[in-house]
């Protein structure tokens, strides 16, 4: 689509066309579109004069650069040991029941994707989760449901 071509060209104008411009470009695509699809990667490759495989190689390395379609809000709950000790399983169950999806899935309306992630750096205030870039700590099942519901109405 011409739309994507323009979008990537603008990002390349903003961040440059060097190899070291690649991460900032991918990251802004994530900020705006939540994931990078094949079309995006091919266009980035063209703008930066790289092979598409190089772009895919970099993009697919990073857990926060999604290369498959995800929802508008990506929920990442911390599964590392202290959040685990503080009851992350109960939070996961509460969110699964609220969104009616399992971990790793996206809601049919493409609004939410639910994933786990490694240590978020909030061990003293676990369990913790991210929704896109926003942090939520000291979760209880009730609090988690309230937060998710507030996003449902957005």
């Amino acid at each position: 689509m011409a739309n994507t071509e323009m979008f990537i060209r603008e990002l390349a104008d903003k961040y440059g066309r060097k190899r070291e411009s690649l991460m900032p470009i991918l990251q802004e695509v994530i900020d705006i579109r939540r994931y990078v699809d094949d079309e995006v990667m091919v266009n980035i490759a063209k703008e930066l004069d790289l092979s598409a495989a190089e772009v895919y190689g970099t993009a697919s390395f990073y857990s926060f650069i999604e290369t498959e379609e995800v929802g508008q809000y990506v929920i990442r709950i911390c599964k590392t040991i202290v959040c685990d000790m503080k009851g992350k399983d109960a939070i996961i169950e509460a969110i699964e029941n609220t969104l009616k999806i399992k971990l790793g899935q996206t809601t049919p309306d493409k609004k939410f994707t639910f994933k786990t992630t490694n240590c978020l750096g909030w061990c003293h205030k676990g369990p913790a989760m991210l929704i896109n870039d926003e942090v939520y700590t000291e979760l209880t099942p009730g609090k988690a449901i309230e937060i998710i519901e507030s996003y449902m109405h957005k």
Binding site: E20, T58, F61, S63, F64, T80, I81, C119, L120, H124
Partner: protein, 387 residues
């Protein structure tokens, strides 16, 4: 061996609005003089690896080339560590001042903060402070400009050469060393990569002097350090303590009275059982830590702890070198098989051998340290792994 009593200090989180005066004063000084003071202070890197900071700066200064870079490693991914987030949130100017002192010392004009994606919520405020400080640098006649870069969720990028590759738009796969970043770093130019807290300590040393700094800590572990304390604790959070205390004193202060074990240094650190608390020194002569201190009480299964760590490493291994990629998988499968009785308890000894091979054969610190947690948990809590 020399130890210290547990003592709280307060240097890092003092208001950071006077940092610019420290910088003004330091810019008058000769680079070699700054390096000598830094080496003499004994400051070792606060990210975990513990390289002598002054020596790193010296090597970068002496490296040939007109273009040099300063990078602040804010890719704080070690499980149980959250001190760098607190620093960047509360006293960012102290970090930026440390970076500016480094730039003045080694002759760099450009600096970067590599902030992990998980901390992106800090970015708006951090960007504003960076803009403000860049202006201050100009006013002081220092030709140095800092900008912000982001990680994208890869633990291994905390390793300095992986971080550099990531900044260069590549997969975050650690490089062979040598060459070290001080001679061939970002864009193959001489680069100093220091942890957030290390730059803060450089700023503090510039302010109070190396002699004063040396009064804290022990011979091998000079100064003070931030500890990220979490788990089964009486109190959790970030605490600034003099280095060199025993783990027994630490547990007395922070434990919940029923502490079974402490994981010192995060998933890549060591698990210390109760019987060794008294003889264990927290510092470079004992067990060094980037600050992660996770406390487990007797209600916790050490099998679950180890399983959690191995899942973590298996996911975060970059996959580049075989000992780490396959080793992490096999350690994880191995303890699961022992737990399910598909393998005899003696299989754990084979796995310990594998962990030791990973230590010598892996390319970077990630694979080299998987064995720390593995061996220390299996040796001290074998019955919990088997039954």
């Amino acid at each position: 061996m020399e130890t210290t009593k547990l003592r709280r200090v307060d240097f890092v989180f003092r208001p950071d609005n006077t940092c610019i005066d420290v910088l003004r004063k330091t810019l008058q000084r000769d680079a070699d003089d700054i390096i000598i003071e830094l080496i003499d202070s004994g400051l070792k890197g606060r990210g975990g690896a513990g390289f002598l900071t002054g020596l790193k700066w010296k090597l970068a200064k002496e490296a040939e080339g007109d273009i040099k870079y300063v990078i602040c490693n804010a890719d704080e991914g070690e499980p149980g560590t959250f001190k760098d987030r607190e620093i960047l949130d509360r006293v960012p100017r102290r970090v930026l001042t440390g970076m500016a002192i480094c730039a003045h010392t080694i002759g760099a004009k450009e600096g970067f903060i590599y902030l992990r994606a998980e901390y992106k919520f800090l970015a708006p405020r951090l960007k504003a402070v960076i803009a403000e400080m860049n202006e201050e640098f100009k006013k002081l006649g220092l030709d140095f400009c800092i900008s912000l870069r982001y990680g994208s969720g890869a633990y291994v990028c905390g390793e300095e050469t992986a971080l550099i590759d990531s900044m260069e738009g590549r997969r975050g796969e650690p490089r062979n060393k040598p060459p070290f970043p001080v001679t061939e770093g970002y864009l193959n130019k001489p680069t100093v990569v220091n942890n957030v807290e290390t730059f803060v300590n450089c700023c503090i040393i510039a302010n109070i002097g190396g002699e004063e700094y040396k009064k804290f800590g022990t011979d091998n572990s000079r100064g003070f350090k931030l500890f990220s304390v979490s788990g089964d604790c009486a109190k959790e959070g970030v605490f600034e303590l003099e280095l060199g205390m025993t783990l027994a004193d630490f547990v007395e202060e922070f434990g919940d009275g029923d502490t079974k074990a402490v994981q010192v240094g995060g998933a890549s650190g060591f698990c210390v059982p109760r019987k060794k608390f008294k003889e264990t020194i927290i510092g470079f002569e004992g067990i060094p830590t980037g600050g992660s201190m996770k406390i487990f009480n007797s209600s916790r299964s050490m099998y679950n702890v180890l399983h959690n760590y191995l899942e973590f490493f298996e996911e975060e291994s970059c996959g580049q070198c075989t000992p780490c990629r396959v080793g992490c998988q096999q350690l994880l499968k191995g303890i699961e098989a022992v737990k399910r009785r598909e393998k005899p308890a003696g299989y754990l000894d084979e796995l310990v051998k594998l962990a030791k091979v990973m230590k010598v054969a892996s390319k970077c610190g990630l694979g080299q340290s998987v064995g720390n947690a593995f061996v220390s948990i299996v040796e001290n809590f074998r019955e919990e792994i088997v039954y």
